[in-house]
């Protein structure tokens, strides 16, 4: 991976004289969720732990998981359901730290949006409707189903359609879908001209829902426990800074995204916390089985940090 990406943070100050820094590459996605790690790299939290971190952007799991398994990346970022699915299919991954959490309240950083004049008023109304999600059979549809079920609707009667988040505001506005599960910053883009949220599905699933996590390969975890430890510690520091000061998060976003200032001001940030939530893993594993993402119970013990 040649790092021609401009957004690659420079860690030069320390790197030149302390040669014993361990080089570490992390595969991340260009979304709000990974702001803390950018922050941490910029603040030098990782160098303090003896790590020279390079952040590589990728579109999603299709590229990050193989790269982590093959050892090209030491760490990666992914949503929890994807990690469970990988584990279910014997991909040797190990989570090391939490990534982002739901805010636990209204507003969250993601929810199911409908147009203002829609007759959908509550999650249960989603039954029988077309709902856009970014990936089928993943965290979005399983949490929505759960929210609908809890609201008294029939979760099996939702017509999910796969669509990239960036395309959802347009599809919603054009009436091509009845509702769309959108994450920030696209949620704000959709809401600004006249849409509302009918379900904060993450919050409704569990106010403390851990959405994503940082992970490594089981090989790497067992042979480099100190690197993992240092990585987690640096992440922790990063999370603390990010949660304490939303302004620095907004600034760091400019280094790796291209979000419109107006949108950035209006959007909701996720909750950053390092505590890994095994409860979430258990809950999402249940939901995966319940809604047919997998055929058998997932044995996720190897995944847990």
């Amino acid at each position: 991976a040649c790092g021609t990406s401009s957004e690659e943070p420079s860690t030069d100050e320390g790197a030149s004289d302390t040669t014993e820094l361990t080089p570490v590459t992390v595969g991340v996605i260009p979304i709000v969720d990974v702001a803390p790690i950018y922050l941490g790299v910029e603040e030098g939290f990782f160098e303090e732990q003896g790590l020279d971190v390079t952040l590589e952007l990728a579109q999603g799991g299709a590229a990050i998981v193989p790269a982590v398994v093959s050892g090209e990346y030491e760490f990666g970022f992914s949503n929890v359901t994807s990690l469970l699915l990988a584990t279910y299919n014997d991909v040797p991954l190990k989570a090391v730290a939490a990534g982002v959490f739901s805010t636990g309240t209204d507003p969250d950083f993601g929810g199911v949006a409908v147009l203002d004049d829609s007759d959908i008023e509550s999650p249960a109304d989603l039954a029988g409707r077309t709902v856009a999600v970014n990936t089928l059979n993943n965290i979005g549809d399983s949490t929505i189903r759960y929210a609908v079920e809890q609201d008294g609707g029939d979760p099996s009667d939702i017509d999910f359609v796969e669509m990239g988040f960036p395309d959802m505001p347009a599809a919603l506005a054009a009436g091509q879908v009845d509702a769309a599960w959108i994450l920030e910053p696209h949620l704000t883009r959709a809401l600004l001209p006249g849409a509302r949220v009918v379900s904060w599905n993450y919050v409704e699933t569990d106010p403390d829902l851990m959405i994503a996590a940082y992970f490594t390969s089981q090989d790497f975890a067992s042979s480099n426990p100190d690197v993992v430890e240092g990585f987690v510690a640096a992440l922790q520091a990063s999370f603390e800074l990010a949660s304490s000061d939303p302004a620095v998060v907004a600034d760091i976003l400019d280094t790796y995204t291209d979000i419109d200032p107006e949108v950035k001001d209006a959007m909701t940030l996720p909750r950053f916390e390092s505590e890994f939530s095994e409860d979430t893993v258990a809950l999402l594993a249940d939901l995966a089985l319940q809604y047919g993402l997998v055929d058998e119970e997932i044995d996720y013990s190897a995944l847990l940090p």
């Binding site: 993943n138 359609v161 669509m163 990239g164 347009a170 599809a171 993402l293």
Partner: protein
Amino acid sequence: MSATMSLKTVSKRSSRGRGRGLLRRIVMIVALPLILLSLWWIGSANSTNFLNPPLSTIIGTFWETWFTADTFADTRFMSDVIPSVGRILAGYGVALVLGILLGVLIGSRRNLRAFLEPVLEFFRAIPPPVLVPIFMLFMGIGPEMRITVIAIGCIWPILLNTVEGVRGLDPVLKDTASAYRLRGRRRLTHLVLPGASPQIVTGARQALSIGIILMVISEMFAGRDGLGFSIVQFQRSFAIPEMWGGVILLGLLGVIMSLVFRVITDVILKWYYGYLQSQRGGE
């Protein structure tokens, strides 16, 4: 010289073994794929890499994935592969008609070509993954959108080859047609289309596999069913043997479609092959 020799031996052999022709053809079709599959089988036998499962595992899941269900109509083959094939055929058909029509127009009018070419080249260079969302804006997320994506992708090789085929028509034939005042439809069907047909067929052949590829891409967007959709789903959920099974199915689809294609073009181009062969030994 060596090529000449082998050409001779082949033609001699084929004339001798007319009865064995079919058998020979079948052997030719399956020989190399079998060799490659065996290599794959051996090479992957002890693989522990999750992305590169043993071929035996892939084949093991293949039948179950695609052909096992309560009724045949419920199998993935019927629910995913068949709709995909339908969309390919529809998109390919549209591309064929439009590509040839536009190609003839553009190929025979210099000014029109100069006017349109930059715009067409512009669209040709835009990756379908960014083009699809734009189509979604206009056409929604139904099958029309997918068929359009396939058609837009397939049209280029057909269009380009038709344009070049029409431009490259034998000038003596064109003069003959002009001298006898062949015009309009008859000029099209008796001069332009047959004259350009070897190249049009080449373009259509190219488009066949592009259609399959774009079927996959179009089903990555707002998809609900389809072969490409299934492959992407398997990939996302790390069901890698199933994914490879899907890729193999794509390849098989390509082979089957090209066999059908060959049967059809052998009829359309029988004059061309006959003409090429006539002086190569006359057999």
